[in-house]
Symmetry: C2
Subunit: 214 residues, 2 copies
Amino acid sequence: MQSVTEASDSPLTERQRDVLDAALGLLVEAGDTLTMTSVARRASCSKETLYKWFGDRDGLLTATVQWQASKVRGIPAKRDGLDLISLTSGLERFASDWLRVLSGKISVALNRIAVSHAGSDKRDLGAIVLENGPFAMARRLMPLLEVGREAGLLAFEDTEEAFRTFFGLVVRDVQIRLLLGDRFELTDVAIDGEARRATQQFFALYGAYTNGAG
Amino acid sequence: MQSVTEASDSPLTERQRDVLDAALGLLVEAGDTLTMTSVARRASCSKETLYKWFGDRDGLLTATVQWQASKVRGIPAKRDGLDLISLTSGLERFASDWLRVLSGKISVALNRIAVSHAGSDKRDLGAIVLENGPFAMARRLMPLLEVGREAGLLAFEDTEEAFRTFFGLVVRDVQIRLLLGDRFELTDVAIDGEARRATQQFFALYGAYTNGAG
DNA sequence: CTTTTGCCGTACCGTACGTTACGGTTCGGT
DNA sequence: ACCGAACCGTAACGTACGGTACGGCAAAAG
């Protein structure tokens, strides 16, 4: 027996991971209208166990979001961006991956939960999603941008500023429209096209061989 | 007596508007955790009246969102963008206004509500917010962009494509961070700076005097 | 074999809240 | 002055759901 709600680095039994996967599935299907009873039934476990492991409903939600975050985390960006070709393809692949994750059902569902719980005095799911969403993207991308700058391929003063512009060029209105329930068809080829366009526009703004209008 | 839930263009009594303002205030303060009782108390009306006018809780929420939308709607964009100066200032003012609305408490609250209700089978608040948010922005801005193109100041093929890029350059990660509860200080001068940067970058991408990389 | 532990299944409790019902009050119409 | 409609305030109902208690079982510990 171990309560997961205390320290953030509890090792999580395989059974617990199964339970969280069940909760994740229900979260995607039903949003935060999921009930403790439904989670228990889906996971074939008792409600008592849920409460023993996760404390309360909010603890279960938090653990579920963290569990998904731990799955996505750790796709390291390759730092081989020394020439223009590899930097370009690195940015493109980055944008492509990001859009793919962003438009996935799980991401949409989790962002919905976090948004609707933000501003509450409970455990802040928003902070977790923020940390594993935009902030994680920044942590992974900004080193790549700086490598590009040191290689003389990019020109900017504020790295965060450059990153946020890249973010805007990649995501545009896609995420908010998805969150607001707009039916959106975003095929894989469309995503790749978006990534290519965003990268191209980013180079038009921050490429060292054009104007360095940072 | 008139039920507002049926036709979308019910004229709304002044008393009803007062009630919706009260609901709006509670929505900003408490999110969708507001109760029918609290709305009745704040508006000094009976719950029976709430149900007679708006049908049910969801109808009240919908009416409230529509009421706020009807307040924001109808700030027409001036179509005087014939020379570069006025086009630039038009875009800047547009971006500035948009960021100001976007970062306001009411906008954040309403987007939160709409996001958390999206994907539900109830009346779609997401569609309303979408219609009065990004889509309204598009309807107002795209004509201005086309005027700029016809005046030879901008170069692009797909107007919607150009608009969405402008959207991305203006909003970047601001909205999602606000929705996720990130404490964010966005002063008026900062907003004006953002608007200026976005406009400048947009001209760098779509200005006719540079490359027309649409 | 006995004890302990951990968990399942289920019944149960308390409460919050959406919704309805009803008596009392205001107010415009005649 | 009278009537009826609209509305206020509040009490009451029904229910869904978070949280708890408890009996039974299987497996590990002793």
